[in-house]
Symmetry: C2
Subunit: 856 residues, 2 copies
Amino acid sequence: MQRWIVDFKDGSRDMRVLLGGKGANIAEMTRVLGPERVPAGFTITTEACVAYLRDGRFPDGLMDQVRDAMGRLEALAGKRFGDAADPLLVSVRSGARESMPGMMDTVLNLGLNDETIEGLAAKTANERFAWDSYRRFVQMFGNVVRGVPGERFEDEIARVKRERGVTLDTELDVDALRELTRTFQGFYDFPQEPGVQLEQAIRAVFDSWMGERAVAYRRIHHIPDDWGTAVNVQQMVFGNKGETSGSGVAFSRDEVTGAPEPSGDFLPNAQGEDVVSGVRNTRDIAELREWLPDVHAQLMEILRTLEAHYKDMQDCEFTVEEGRLYMLQTRNAKRPAQAAIRFAVDAVEEGLLSKAEAIATIDAAKLDALLHPTFDPTADYAVLARGVAASPGAAKGAIVFTAADAVARAQAGEDVILVRPFTEADDVAGFHAAKGVLTSEGGKASHAALVARGMGVPAVTGASDVEIDLQARTARVGDVVLREGDRIALDGTTGAITTDDVPLVEPTVDERFETVLGWCDELRRLGVRANADTPEDAARARELGAEGIGLCRTEHMFLGDRQPLMADMILAEDEAERRERLSRLLPLQQADFEGLFAAMEGRPVTIRLLDPPLHEFLPHPQDLPAGSPERARVEALQEANPMLGTRGVRLGILHPEIYEMQVRAICRAAKAVSPAPHLEIMIPLVAYEHELELMSELVERVAGEEGLQRGRDYSLGTMIELPRACFLADHISPHADFFSFGTNDLTQTGIGFSRDDIEGRILDRYLDTGILDRSPFETLDFPGVGQMVRMGAWLGRQGNPQLKLGICGEHGGDPDSIDFVHHSGIDYVSCSPFRVPIARVAAAQAAVRAAAAQDG
Amino acid sequence: MQRWIVDFKDGSRDMRVLLGGKGANIAEMTRVLGPERVPAGFTITTEACVAYLRDGRFPDGLMDQVRDAMGRLEALAGKRFGDAADPLLVSVRSGARESMPGMMDTVLNLGLNDETIEGLAAKTANERFAWDSYRRFVQMFGNVVRGVPGERFEDEIARVKRERGVTLDTELDVDALRELTRTFQGFYDFPQEPGVQLEQAIRAVFDSWMGERAVAYRRIHHIPDDWGTAVNVQQMVFGNKGETSGSGVAFSRDEVTGAPEPSGDFLPNAQGEDVVSGVRNTRDIAELREWLPDVHAQLMEILRTLEAHYKDMQDCEFTVEEGRLYMLQTRNAKRPAQAAIRFAVDAVEEGLLSKAEAIATIDAAKLDALLHPTFDPTADYAVLARGVAASPGAAKGAIVFTAADAVARAQAGEDVILVRPFTEADDVAGFHAAKGVLTSEGGKASHAALVARGMGVPAVTGASDVEIDLQARTARVGDVVLREGDRIALDGTTGAITTDDVPLVEPTVDERFETVLGWCDELRRLGVRANADTPEDAARARELGAEGIGLCRTEHMFLGDRQPLMADMILAEDEAERRERLSRLLPLQQADFEGLFAAMEGRPVTIRLLDPPLHEFLPHPQDLPAGSPERARVEALQEANPMLGTRGVRLGILHPEIYEMQVRAICRAAKAVSPAPHLEIMIPLVAYEHELELMSELVERVAGEEGLQRGRDYSLGTMIELPRACFLADHISPHADFFSFGTNDLTQTGIGFSRDDIEGRILDRYLDTGILDRSPFETLDFPGVGQMVRMGAWLGRQGNPQLKLGICGEHGGDPDSIDFVHHSGIDYVSCSPFRVPIARVAAAQAAVRAAAAQDG
């Protein structure tokens, strides 16, 4: 018979998968603090939940084991479950592998019924406490286990208080509580038998794993559906037993700032739920010192003990029953980025943690918040609409509806927000000019989101309540009509939009953060570069610690005021005309590259030659006169699937003169700047070795004409962004000095997912149905696309042991992906400048974890 | 020092890679027929050519080795090279690993100069012969080695003939020939030194490997650029030495029908070039018996000997010099499909070959021709003219007079017939584009006939009643004047030409072909199914031997008169409306499936659920009123990259009601038809195992409601057409009964090639630059996409050892791809009905080759 139950005294924190976080931590506390500090009990394992959900019934033997465990608990407590004279009462709580606060069900005071209530009242000589407990239990059981809406109970309490002329729950006397309890029992068939109560409560907790709230929470936090929850059955202690009783929550350090003083809240004469629910105003933990100085001292000591034991900031729940302190739960404290940084630095100074251990306590993904302005958290404002939090940071400005307007108004010194249904390559100049971007369509992987994140421009996308009329130049939300020039504010960290003039708080990379980043740089093996296209991007990237540019996209050098020249070039009648027009682009691009190289001061700069399909530089055919030859030529360049069409190296092979111009501009810029950059020229979208051979010949020839020599003055490599290239990497690599995996496009081709088309309907449905637990554009699809990267990396080195390997997709700034990349033989990641600090931390964490795994 | 030369006596047919086909076969003939039948000489290896092309100069030691070899040849011949009294003359011919007829250069009579001509004249006592030879040599050398345009020589000959009042070349006397030779020498600086002539000729042959014609030919025939050509230097024998001399081409069997009588053409008093060029009308080989009965008997004996030795039909070149027969070349005869089939059947009956050997002699790709239409034998039509039945099959189309026009009109979607007096290498692109070829000159061995048969294009040659005026762009037959664009029909199996719109009949598989296909079915391991969507397709597929339907695409069932219903369904306001509209499609689709199942009589039928993006069923947005809500909804369904968008299983997950309707229609049809089909339901475009799980649940539920049970009544599988699916095949396969590799889409995603966008500009450029040697949509990209298939197949069986594996891309009908598939653990291929016989033969050949490789 499988063992479905583990007593608290037999568990430990290492058993989190089986016992859930709460169960494992209660067991650990029992070991560390001694059984007198932690009420006894047992955990029903997550395996029991998984079996229940799979089969639709309790697994064989479960309830027998529960009864045995209850017997052991009775023996420890010296009370019996259902004993009319002195009943054992228990709490029944959920507890998943990862904390899902408030998402699943809890039942307290279980074991009370019309008989045991009398025993409890007599034994505690506190009739009011007993009836308050019974009332709470019947209410909670009805709501949680039987699904009776909470308002029905609350309405009844309000009615009784009205009738009795009292305002506080605590003012209700025994009579009132008894009346409420009876009324509540009438709302459903309340089971009097404690064993039945327990069985139903366990089932309710299991079921709550598949509850709507819990499923939604798991989607957001990328928690798999198949983990299941454990159930913790624990002897009740009572914080509502009078004036020397109470419940509270305590942090071993300040949970907002990370300052080394413990913080927290408590409520006298209350159960834990009252503290968390926010119904009553709590008191600061410091007041506990005056009220119950011994308990306060014990609690402070326990917090120190637990923090030292767990080597992380702790978040505890406690109950004081008639002056005696019980610890009900502890866990590593979730905390904002600034607190995480402060704790890490202090903990190292205090000798509590090594640098590696301290870095491991930081949630790298959250550091984003430290790098962008935010709405002042103390400000009051009315949310007009919400969209997808697509690019972090907050911004305010005047509404503009076109990129050209954004540029014009920004040049006039105005802060603007670019508002579009969606954005395209043409709009990129507008991103540069705008303080923020708002779109009504598209999600986190839309063009707007990607470009905005790359540039560090705050953006809210897919705000579907905002109806944008580009003709009328209005944005309508319900009755509110916003016009060009109207002021708006948006927070890309939360997705909120408001017309209120909410104050912004500027970010700072403070000294502590710098300290942590310095440690990360010592510990990490992966290099960290930035994707940067302009001198401004490059300067920002360096400030944030990038060691070089891993991807400079050159397409913006063909846009803006160069677009007409580019369009003329593409539509040129013959090669001579095309070359003439390209020659006019050359000095402009040379100047662009000079700016970039100067900003990087001799560090590596990887420049990708032109990648996007040519029609992106042309007007839309429908904007040209019908039947005109120009329209016909533009239409001839339209493609059914541009993602899989004439782009990347295919452009270079069809129109070598474009790449020649670019290489010439790069070489001349490199010669003009001192110190010369560590130059890396990158050919995009290679599938066949001979493509790279041909382009190598072209680059070497043109660079040679400019006096630059491969190996000495520059290196030459390719983006690996097609599955075929991963399979043939050992054939391609002999022609390359480096590979940079373009994981965005590799995801598109490897999974057959067009980012533009998948975002929204399909991706949402895939998350809802559990096909995906997160977007593959956010975190690398490890078993699919990730394995393609590993194959490409390994084969690449087979063909060329000196090959340098990088990753330059969006995944280069995603901590989970960075961990994977660390184990894939990659030398560096490259991400948008604002994610460079995150990548530095994540790379260090990956190294620390890898070392720990090796030691373990 | 590397050995760059192999004497004929030292070589063999196994040395084809080093010596080229011609060199290896001359060596082999020297061994088999004895040195007295084959003029002596030596071969400069392909390695020398490769080194020359790589370094731009002759490899070290080459010319020293040539001089040594010439010394050996002089010793054998008893003559010296450049001897004024009795000069040794040689031919210098190209010869690649695979025959590239007429694509590279040849120089005859090399060694003649102003001194040796006198010796030759005196020694042969035939001054006219000597000067004719010298004239030919100076002309050929100028044209081939020095690039003097051929017309300059031809114009001069015409002028001299006019002046002398003669019409035939053979009527030119010694004076005239001497005058022509002198004039020709004035066209360029003719080298008098034989050693210099030889060196320049070798260089010219090497260079011709990279000539435009040769490169174009290699593209079409998928011959790699890096093979290089060998050069054969051979003692001249002279077919132009008078009335007991001649040259000819002989086949060991009829080269058009395969009938067991030798066939061929010859010309008395001529060199080989005259026969092949089609300039003079040749005589049938049968006439040789009357003219030179001994030579005829020797030739017949030799043909039998060579055929038995090579175990294949032979195509030989011979020269008779003053009554003595020399064999200059032999090779396996290229032949039309019907001849190949007939030879295979006869050779087995004669005991010459085993069935496996016989099947190996067939070029499976050419069998297409047998499956080509012919003129309806019962049709009444007026024969306009008759020519040589040069390449089987019938064709109709608009007349074009140049290859360029053929290409242009074909690209515009028109069927065209290429009409030329005769054809040259430059015209080859036109053969590809044309449905048929008609020439007024030349016979069965003319360039036009050879090339057309090679490509499986119907052709009538030597239709001498047709007067073609290329200037005026007319073809005149008596009073009938045909102009460009006029429609014509020709039957290359009978030689008939007509302007009537004669009906073509679909091909039937004759008894011999059936015999061969029967042997193939015994020998092959791979199953062969057809891709068929309608009962008509299905019936044709069965007729042609398909064992089942490997892919039934269901999208046509939503088109035609159902499209409005489908469009309404897609644009339905809610699910109820959508289901109502689907319910009206159900009986229509059920009837479609019933027809299909009835046609297949219980054989396997794989039905793919709806795959294409929904907007394919909707009107174009620009056809709807601007600003209308309908247009907005249609526009919302447009996708940036539909190939990577909402299609395949993604449709089924977004709109399960569509798949439910399809499954219901399939199940009801299966129940209504007897015998019930062996039903296989296929889910397209799966990337994630959970997609297939969800769709399996749907199919099993709906089928269950209709009383069908998985395993018993149907199986369920998926198309593997995304790289991710290949990587995760072991996770997907536990949910599948079968995989069918959709290699078209796997090619698109694996290489990042949108077929619609790549074909044309990009593909042409890629072939031109040698990045590709053929389209990956024609023959599977073995090292890339092919490896994905192998990975998917292997992992798929790891996850489910019972998994059945098929391939249903167009590659399923391509012989080279079938060979690859044979080695990839696949159970069956599925291709278009007309390619089923080809697939049966190719599958058998793959099995035979595999067995041979194992034995070897």
